[in-house]
Amino acid sequence: MKKLMNDPNQVVKDMLAGMVAAHFNQIKRLPDTTVIVRKDAPIQGKVGLVSGGGSGHEPAHAGYVGKGMLDGAVCGEVFTSPTPDQIFEAIKAVDSGKGVLLIIKNYTGDIMNFEMAAEMAEAEGIKVAKVVVNDDVAVEDSTYTTGRRGIAGTVFVHKIAGALAEQGATLEEVEAVANKVVKNVRSMGMALTPCIVPAAGKPGFELGENEIEIGIGIHGEPGIEKTQIQPADEIVQILLGKILDDLKLENNDKVAVMINGLGATPLMELYIMNKKISEILKEKNIHVHETFVGEFMTSLEMAGCSISLLKLDDQLIELLDAQADTIVFKK
């Protein structure tokens, strides 16, 4: 394991220190926490948005703290949901009295920790709503299981709910639009290489010289299926195929596309993926309103990518296009 770090057990602390030092104009860290909030939090008259999760997904989630997206991001240990006390601090710091929306990726740990934090906040009289993102179609959705995971599509929830909150909407309205995004976004990923949690010191799974994992999550966990490496066009067909099966788009539908690198994938390769993605969508007469290509929700230094499709209507388009000024996402 070769990493630019000092102590594998201090990576989150060191990262946060470096992040705040870099972006002191935009963000601040709540003292003695792993919580990053907007420098001007709480924003009067605005619903607060808090997201978070394990670290190792940078720029998620702290990179999305700023005008038009999140008010606060709670950073757990690497790939480990943050604890309720930290989330509670974030809620308190961003609440201006209009309530706080928690944007949670659908993992047992995240759900439980955010729920406990919400209970704490409600006990102190803060209005809290929760939305759970579960965009990963690699995982079967069933009421008997944990359900689908939340992956890169979460960034669309931040963007769109954030834009509505910025307009002064109520907690109920912001929650409703967040849920609308969740209903309309689907993602699926694949990996060329595993990644190494610094404190674990070795990869979560092994891949042969010619193997890839289809249906990978974002926590270094194995995917749904191991196969031989295939041309980019074939990989697009697998991932996009599953997404389209699930999203059921129609002629003339409008979508936003996100091609998300998992950490070690050159932009070049993501654009090569988009060549085929755009061809397939064009063939199906689905209109791409905007394509986002880059690293939005990573998995440390994993090589691979995910594709997300968000089905748009006029409201979602307006909110997606709205101004945003965060560390990494600007519009």
């Binding site: 394990g54 757990g76 240990e77 690497v78 790939f79 480990t80 949901s81 943050p82 604890t83 309720p84 006390d85 930290q86 993992y107 047992t108 740990g109 439980m112 920790n113 729920e115 406990m116 690699a138 995982v139 079967e140 008997y144 299981t145 944990t146 995971r149 949690v197 404190a199 674990a200 070795k202 990869p203 979560g204 799974f205 999550g217 926590h219 270094g220 966990e221 194995p222 749904i224």
Partner: protein, 209 residues
Amino acid sequence: MTFGVEQAEKWIITFNDKIQENKEYLTELDQAIGDGDHGLNMARGFQETVNKITSVNYDDLGSLFKDVGMTLIAKVGGASGPLYGTAFMKASLALKDKKKADVKELVEALAASLDGLKTRGKAQVGDKTMIDVWEPVIEFLTNSETIQPKELSVLSKEKMEYTKELEAKKGRAAYLGKRSIGHIDPGAASSYLLFVSLAEVFTGGELSS
């Protein structure tokens, strides 16, 4: 032998020792079907817990377990943090202000813990989680007059090992579907260590009822 603050502390300290020893093993189990942090999470959280409880003089089991639960909730994270944290918070409520507990009281507290786990995590026996150790163990204890360390260890080990056969329905391993079969659940493994540690507290003497 009675179960008082001294015994409770010994339980937590013994458990922490076993967690630290098995940190890599637990992490490997979690790498196979999860995200490879269970050993790290438990080691971080229980070390903090031991630091906390060894710095305070407790008068009663309730306040001891409350500190255990609070520390776990704040320091573990992931799925296991809220679960173990909730378990000890529930036990602390059941043992509020109690200087010592008899078998019935202790087992009732553990049953409350199990209830808390199930409410928090919504898992059932057979979902391949720590519940697959907790539920049969609590059932066994509830039906025993005394706590029999040997039997407790054997049963929890057996139940932990049985999770190997199961397909995960809850937690991160559920995403693997059938590929989760053939691996011991990491949370079941740490729960086994919890009950073994409890058994060790009682080794050489059984709790009078």
